[in-house]
């Protein structure tokens, strides 16, 4: 539905370099990245607000590279919503319809329909002053959707909202996107948002894509350490291969000073990096005979732990520094505290290997 081919754009010292992206019809694609990575600039290039230096943009098969923004059939919701302060809510929503020559009377049914869909009918007729963040976001979304765009671009639509409102609005965005089957590119720096909304995601940094794929692929099979760290994979270790497993389907990897050896899937040679997510770590009370602990287990000491809403984050140290996220119930059963010795284990298949270049 929307495709960029070798898209390049530079402004000042920043450069978008040969961006190749394809988002299929009806897909919700989340563009992740740290601040300053080029996410918003990329969206503005898609809108036609920035004239690209090289490459092509196709929307629904049509080359829109040199088309004016108004002709690209794109709905754009900027980061701060950009509601027109001199117009009321319904006039804001109808702004694009008026620009396309629709009279006010003819526009009203469409305004009411979209307001009903986004649950903002009660705001019609009001000024934009005094609207809450969630209300402003919905009005901006209504203003874009009322034009029935082919592609919807959302630039951090919920970053300015409180936690509760953010989750509510994310659910609404998902419902609306599914209902209208509208191709969406959604910029965010929030991982939870991406996990809630994305069919696929891409991580951009310093103007280029590091990895594009499903959220699961970015989380569990990041292509390099940068991606892994952004996706909050904290257990990243450098190591050296130390031979294959008995059946040849796995490789033993010696980490750090060689005190710890893990078995990873696949056949590898030479230096490499391995990683696994904190959620994939199991913590157990050590049994008397450590030798029967099994593959990929190591005895560590709890350095600290703290509760979050969904899990307990446990930091352990020893021959390996490791972070684990386990459920409150599991942690309570361990009856562990700071200084406790626990057996940390991870399944072979949960370990991902990044080959050192």
């Amino acid at each position: 539905m929307i495709r960029t081919t070798c898209l390049s754009y530079s402004v000042g010292s920043f450069e978008l370099r040969e961006i190749n992206l394809h988002v299929a019809r009806g897909e919700h694609f989340v563009l992740l990245g740290p601040p300053g990575s080029g996410k918003s600039v990329f969206l503005e290039c898609l809108c036609g607000l920035n004239r690209i230096d090289a490459g092509r943009i196709h929307i629904d098969g049509e080359d829109v590279t040199r088309l004016e923004p108004r002709l690209r059939r794109i709905g754009y919701v900027p980061q701060d919503y950009a509601l027109f302060p001199h117009l009321s809510v319904d006039r804001n929503i109808a702004f694009g319809l008026a620009a396309r020559g629709m009279k006010w009377r003819a526009a009203q049914p469409r305004i009411y329909r979209i307001a009903e869909l986004l649950d903002i009918s009660y705001l019609l007729g009001r000024t934009t002053a005094g609207l809450s963040g969630g209300e402003r976001q919905r009005v901006a979304l209504a203003r874009a959707l009322v034009l029935e765009p082919v592609v919807l671009l959302l630039d951090e639509p919920v970053s300015a909202l409180d936690e509760v409102t953010r989750q509510e609005v994310c659910r609404e965005i998902r419902q609306v996107q599914r209902a209208l089957q509208i191709t969406t590119i959604h910029v965010s720096h929030n991982l939870e948002e991406a996990c809630t909304l994305a069919d696929r995601a891409g991580l951009i940094r310093d103007g280029r894509f590091l990895q594009i794929g499903t959220i699961d692929a970015l989380l569990r099979r990041p292509c390099d350490e940068q991606v892994a760290r952004f996706m909050r994979c904290e257990n990243i270790y450098a190591g050296e291969t130390a031979g294959s497993s008995a059946d040849g389907s796995a490789t033993r990897v010696r980490l750090g000073d060689g005190e710890v050896e893990l078995t990873v899937p696949g056949r590898w040679q030479g230096p490499l990096k391995i990683l696994f997510r904190p959620e994939q770590v199991r913590l157990e009370t050590p049994c008397r005979d450590e030798a029967i602990a099994g593959e990929n287990h190591v005895l560590l000491r709890v350095v600290r732990f703290h509760d979050t809403l969904s899990h307990v984050r446990v930091t352990l140290n020893g021959p390996l520094k490791l972070v684990a996220h386990i459920s409150h119930e599991s942690f309570a059963r361990l009856q562990a505290g700071e200084g406790s010795r626990l057996l940390a284990g991870v399944d072979r298949d949960a370990i991902h290997v990044i080959e050192e270049s």
Binding site: E44, C47, G48, L49, E68, P69, R70, R72, I74, G75, Y76, P78, D80, A82, F84, P85, H86, L87, R91, A94, F95, G96, A98, A99, R100, W104, R143, A144, L147
Partner: protein
């Protein structure tokens, strides 16, 4: 009430105890009430004192003029046809100047605010040059241009656009001296319009021209109006360049400011001050009217 818990709300707006229903409106926010120490009060009082001093200074000067005049001067003012004509000349020339200045100021201010072109910084600086012109120099420059240069003579003689010692020359003089205020104010007003609003308007289907008229101009309107007020005030009270460029011919190029000069130069100070108070009254009325109109004006769909 029997069988009903206290505090239960009824459709009639009373609770079970018969007390009026609590208002569903939030309490009115009456403003900040921060804790203030004596230093804060002292600083605030000092700031207010400067404001009061300035206003008192202006008021005292106006009152001094007012107490100087007498009934005879007022009677002469009201019965004088040339002062009426002078007032009319002042009003229509200054209003015409404002209109022409805005015609220049709005696009010029937008260009300075939004466009990137070579020597933009120089152009931005030169816009303010007429403000710092000594007023007499402005009049002298115009006189020399139209009477001593080929281009000026061609404009007057071949095109038939006469300015020297003519009413049109009043407008030209006022425009030269005061249009910079309008341009500067327009530029500042457009600077304060968030460019993201314009960007969104373009994605919603606006052409750049429509975006300008539907978004940029309405949002810059208050700043432009302020510039128009400053332009009009400068034009209305202009004196020095007019004396040199158009003179003060009674019934033709005489405006209120030159009337004051002429009357006081023949010793008729009471009438001069009466005309001065008339100028102040007209200016005040226009300022108030424009402020009121500007506060109610809004661009429609």
């Amino acid at each position: 009430m029997n069988g009903v818990a206290d505090g239960t709300r009824f459709r009639g707006g009373r609770t079970a105890r018969g007390t009026p229903r609590e208002s569903s409106k939030p309490p009115k926010f009456t403003g900040r009430r921060t804790v203030r120490g004596w230093r804060t009060w002292l600083a605030g009082g000092t700031a207010l004192a400067f404001l009061v001093l300035f206003l008192a200074f202006v008021a005292v000067l106006i009152l001094a003029d007012a107490f100087y005049i007498d009934g005879a001067a007022i009677e002469q003012l009201l019965s004088s046809s040339y002062i009426g004509h002078s007032l009319w000349m002042s009003v229509w020339t200054s209003v015409t100047t404002v209109v022409i200045a805005l015609v220049f100021a709005i696009p010029a201010g937008y260009a300075l605010s939004r466009f990137r072109f070579p020597l933009r910084v120089l152009a931005d600086t030169l816009v303010d040059l007429p403000i710092v012109f000594p007023p007499l120099v402005a009049g002298l420059t115009l006189l020399v241009f139209f009477s001593r240069t080929a281009l000026g003579r061609w404009i007057q003689n071949d095109l038939g656009l006469e300015f020297v010692f003519q009413p049109a020359g009043i407008v030209l003089c006022q425009f030269l001296v005061s249009a910079s205020f309008a341009i500067r104010s327009a530029k500042t007003a457009f600077d304060e319009v968030d460019r993201r609003l314009e960007s969104v308007a373009l994605t919603l289907g606006c052409t750049p021209i429509r975006c300008f008229f539907r978004v940029s101009l309405p949002l810059a309107a208050n700043g432009i109006l302020t510039g128009a007020i400053l332009t009009w005030a400068r034009a209305f009270g202009l004196f020095g360049p007019l004396i040199i460029f158009v003179g003060s011919f009674r019934g033709r190029t005489e405006v209120l400011s030159t009337t004051i000069f002429l009357e006081q130069s023949v010793g008729n100070l009471e009438l001069a001050l009466t005309v001065a108070l008339l100028m102040i009254a007209v200016a005040l009325a226009c300022l108030v009217a424009v402020r009121c109109i500007g506060g109610r004006t809004s661009m429609r769909y």
